[in-house]
Each structure stands twice: as structure tokens, then as C-alpha cells.
């Protein structure tokens, strides 16, 4: 009995050790300006900004139309969009790999093992979320609002813009959800990016690598770094939300 407990304690002490070690390492990495870590942070921020930018530009108008207008097959389209929200990242990674490989249809652009390649995959990941949540936000908008705006003498363009403005918080919620998925995915980055040091290594693929190398403490540290970035993004957004 005693030996069983001591084994239990020893075993869990090791696990606690690398979590604690991870905390210290996270601070050391950030404060010492570790070049590899900052390269991975930079890749993560760059690629997720590109993909979230593209998916917002395309997703908001599409989502707005889906929620605002009534047309044939709207419900089925909505179901398709909702289903696509569940696309597994490794599957997207595989599809984009098949497109971008030199023998694939888009092989000539040389996008495999590059950040734009990853951004394409992440845009596919984020788009359904943005479209779906924008449509929901537009649909749940108070119907009286439309009448009020029109009774104030608004033309079609003004009606359109003020409706969009009124559902900004719902759209923002969609954007935050999509950003979270994009920043934390590993399947697309690993398959399309190839986890190439100094180039396409993002924080999540670096965590996968450190885990494979058995450096659990380092993996925990990088995970905390990723959380810190997400925290900064959300602080900025909540600041903007209070102002507008």
C-alpha cells in the first residue's frame, strides 16, 4: 500500500514539475527575447491576422445576406454553413495540401510550406463561423428596428448600413470565436506549413514538436505564451467594444 502511494506521489510530482517548470520557462522565454519563440509568435500572429482578415472581408457580407434576405433554399444553405463549422482541421489541412502540392491544381504558385498556404486553410476554417454567427446576429435583430429606421426617412443604403452597425456585437462575437479557433489550430499549420524552423513554425506546431521531443516543460511554456497573446487580443477588443 505504502509503495503504491509513494509511487503515486512520485509520479504526479513529475507532472507537477513540468507544469511549474513551464511557468518559469514561459517568463524566461518572453523576457530573454528568445529568438526561436519570437519567430513562432510572429508567424502565429501574422498568419492568423491574414486569415481572420480575409474571412471577415468575405464572411461578413455573405453572412449578412444569408441573415437579411429571404430566398429559396435559405434553410438548407444555413444547415450547410452550420455543418461546415465542424470541419476538422486535419481534414482541411489534407485538402489544402492536395491543392497546393506541386502536382496539385494550384501547385505552380509554390504556396506549400509557406505562411500564405496556412492562411488559405485557416480562412476555410474561419469563414463558416463568421458567416454563421453574422447571419444569426442579423436574424435576431429587433424587427421593429427596421421599421423605425425606415420611418426616420432612411434610404436603402442607410438602412443596410445601420442594420449592419446594430448587429456589430454579434459579429464581433463571431470574429472572436473564429480567431480563437484559427490561433489554436495545429492540423492545418502542421500539414500545409510543415513546421519549418524560422519559417512556418507556429506556436501550436512548436508545442507538438516539443511534446514529441519529450520537452514537456517547454511545451507548457509555449502554451502559456499562446494564452498570453489571446489575452492581449481580447483586452484590445473589449476596450474597443466599450468605446463603440
Amino acid at each position: 500500500m505504502f509503495s503504491r502511494w509513494s509511487h503515486f506521489i512520485a509520479y504526479h510530482r513529475i507532472a507537477m514539475d513540468f507544469i511549474l517548470e513551464g511557468f518559469f520557462q514561459a517568463f524566461t522565454l518572453l523576457l530573454s527575447g528568445n529568438a526561436e519563440t519570437y519567430s513562432a509568435i510572429w508567424s502565429t500572429v501574422k498568419v492568423s491576422s491574414y486569415s481572420i482578415g480575409c474571412s471577415l472581408l468575405m464572411g461578413i457580407p455573405l453572412g449578412f445576406c444569408l441573415g437579411y434576405f429571404n430566398f429559396m433554399g435559405k434553410k438548407s444553405l444555413r444547415t450547410i454553413v452550420d455543418t461546415l463549422m465542424a470541419l476538422p482541421t486535419v481534414f482541411i489541412g489534407l485538402l489544402v495540401y492536395a491543392l497546393l502540392t506541386h502536382r496539385g491544381p494550384l501547385g505552380n504558385f509554390g504556396l506549400l510550406f509557406s505562411l500564405p498556404g496556412i492562411a488559405i486553410g485557416q480562412t476555410i476554417l474561419a469563414m463558416p463561423i463568421i458567416i454563421g454567427l453574422t447571419a444569426t446576429a442579423v436574424e435576431s435583430m429587433d424587427q421593429k428596428l427596421r421599421i423605425t429606421i425606415m420611418s426616420l426617412g432612411a434610404n436603402r443604403r442607410q438602412l443596410f448600413l445601420s442594420s449592419l452597425w446594430e448587429c456589430r456585437h454579434g459579429i464581433l462575437a463571431g470574429a472572436i470565436a473564429a480567431y480563437g479557433r484559427v490561433m489554436t489550430e495545429v492540423g492545418i499549420s502542421m500539414m500545409v506549413g510543415g513546421n519549418i524552423k524560422w519559417h512556418t513554425r507556429t506556436i501550436t506546431t512548436a508545442i507538438a514538436l516539443e511534446t514529441n521531443k519529450g520537452q514537456f516543460g517547454m511545451g507548457v511554456a509555449l502554451g502559456l505564451v499562446l494564452l498570453a497573446i489571446a489575452f492581449c487580443v481580447n483586452v484590445t477588443i473589449s476596450f474597443l467594444r466599450q468605446r463603440y
Binding site: L57, T101, S114, T211, N212, G214
Partner: protein, 276 residues
């Protein structure tokens, strides 16, 4: 409202100005390699020397040998560093690769719990595998078509046994070598690994790992690494000349010495054996 649009446009412009997504440079080379050369830190050690000497930036992606060969066949990389000689010869024979050169070797070992529940310590490899099977000792396999996995499967066949599949004692991880060793560690089981990765594992656990080397030094356990350039006729866009430069460099005396000097816990991980 208008202000928000301005902010939006500002952010979009900023995103466009963010300096270049790495544009393919002439002086770079893409290599697909196996997890063992990457996870042990050998490439982190070698590649900066290559950059200094030639100005060529080598970018590598680490994966199992099976996928690495597939990437070569699909023209996604310019060069391969792999360790599955029969598959490599087939690859070159099919016209996908050329200039295959052996660069270094280490050997495979069977590791397992220090108390060795099945009792395989010091046995020959075939006998050890037969014992594991009859005693139903837990055996953890890569199960990922990597060079190590191919070797392991060939050893079961050589021992006159059917390749285990869906046996309760046979665990296929589908992961890299160190991850697989860690799973064997958790399951208190046996596994086969290259010696380089084992030393790395020993080093991670500060020189006192629960899994010990039990079977080693069998002639069939040799693990040969080679480099292969992708054939220009098969992939016109592959950077054959640059790949050739890398092959010349890694087989010359200086780089071979670097491989020899790469040590963890004072033990060499790979033995250079390029024919000059």
C-alpha cells in the same frame, strides 16, 4: 461608424504592409527528413555550418520516412534525408530520386522496463521478439510507416512471426519516436528505437530513464541514413544543383566530423560513414 470604417481600412493596409511572406529565395533548399534527425537536435547543430559555408538556407520538415518519400515523389521538396534503404532504392529505381549517398548510421535497440518482465535481456533479436509474443509483453510500435516502423515489421517477419495487428499486447501509436518511447514508458512496455533517439530520451530524463537497452548489437539492427536528391527529369522545378551542393557538403570530411562530434551525455548519436 465612419471612424470604424477608417480603423478597418487602416488595419487592412497595415496587414498588407507587414513585410513579406517569405518569398521563395534562390538560395534556399527544402528538405524532408525523418523525426530522428530533427528530434535529436542533429540538424539544429549541422545546418548553421552549411549556411555559413555556402550561404544556402536549408529548410526542413520532419516527418516519417514514408511521408518524406511521398513528398519527394510529389515534388514538394528538393532533397530527402531518410533511413529505409529498401524503400529508398525503390524510390531511386522509379526515377523519382538520384545521387543517393549514404551519410551516417546508428543502430536500433530494443528497450524495455529495467525489471524486464518478459525476460529478453541479452537475447538475439529474433528470439527476443518470439519471447515477447509468447509472454504477451506489451510492445509499443510506431505504426506510422516510418523508417523505424518498416524496420520493426521486417524484424517480425525475419523472426518467422506474423506481423502483429490488433493483438492486445501490441500498441501502435502513430506518433514520432520520442512520443512512442514515452508511451512505452507509461505502459511499462517494450519498444524498438534508434540509439540516437534513445540517448536523447536518456538525456531528457537526466541520465536515469526507467526504460533500459535490453537487446542490441545484432547485425540486422544497423540503421543507415542517406540523402537523395530529387530527380530533375521527374520534377523540373526541383533545385537539383543546390541539392547536389548539399550532398557534396554533408559527405565531405568537415561535415562528417561534425556528425561524429555531435554528442549527448558524452555519447555519440550517429557514426558518419560517407564514402569519399
Amino acid at each position: 461608424m465612419r471612424r470604424l470604417i477608417v480603423v478597418f481600412i487602416g488595419m487592412a493596409t497595415l496587414a498588407c504592409l507587414v513585410p513579406g511572406f517569405a518569398v521563395a529565395q534562390d538560395k534556399s533548399l527544402t528538405m524532408a527528413t525523418t523525426t530522428s534527425t530533427d528530434n535529436t537536435g542533429l540538424l539544429d547543430e549541422l545546418i548553421p555550418h552549411f549556411l555559413k559555408k555556402t550561404g544556402i538556407e536549408l529548410k526542413w520538415t520532419a516527418t516519417g520516412t514514408g511521408k518524406a518519400l511521398k513528398m519527394g515523389e510529389n515534388c514538394d521538396v528538393d532533397i530527402l534525408m531518410v533511413h529505409a534503404p529498401p524503400a529508398e532504392k525503390k524510390f531511386v529505381g522509379s526515377g523519382f530520386g538520384t545521387d543517393r549517398r549514404e551519410i551516417m548510421y546508428n543502430d536500433f535497440v530494443i528497450i524495455g522496463p529495467g525489471d524486464d518482465p518478459a525476460g529478453i535481456k541479452g537475447k538475439a533479436i529474433a528470439e527476443a521478439l518470439q519471447t515477447i509474443k509468447s509472454k504477451q509483453g506489451v510492445f509499443v510500435s510506431r505504426g506510422d510507416n516510418s523508417g523505424t516502423n518498416k524496420k520493426e515489421l521486417s524484424l517480425w517477419k525475419a523472426a518467422g512471426l506474423p506481423v502483429p495487428e490488433r493483438e492486445s499486447w501490441y500498441v501502435q501509436t502513430g506518433q514520432g519516436m520520442l512520443a512512442t518511447i514515452n508511451i512505452a514508458n507509461e505502459r511499462n512496455g517494450y519498444t524498438m528505437t534508434d540509439r540516437g533517439t534513445y540517448i536523447k530520451y536518456e538525456d531528457n530524463l537526466k541520465g536515469n530513464p526507467p526504460l533500459k537497452i535490453l537487446v542490441e548489437k545484432d547485425a540486422v539492427l544497423l540503421n543507415q541514413y542517406s540523402v537523395i536528391a530529387i530527380d530533375k527529369n521527374h520534377c523540373p522545378k526541383a533545385k537539383y544543383d543546390t541539392a547536389k551542393q548539399f550532398i557534396e557538403w554533408i559527405t565531405d570530411a568537415e561535415a562528417q566530423q561534425l556528425i561524429k562530434d555531435f554528442k549527448l551525455l558524452g555519447k555519440p548519436l550517429f557514426t558518419p560513414n560517407a564514402k569519399m
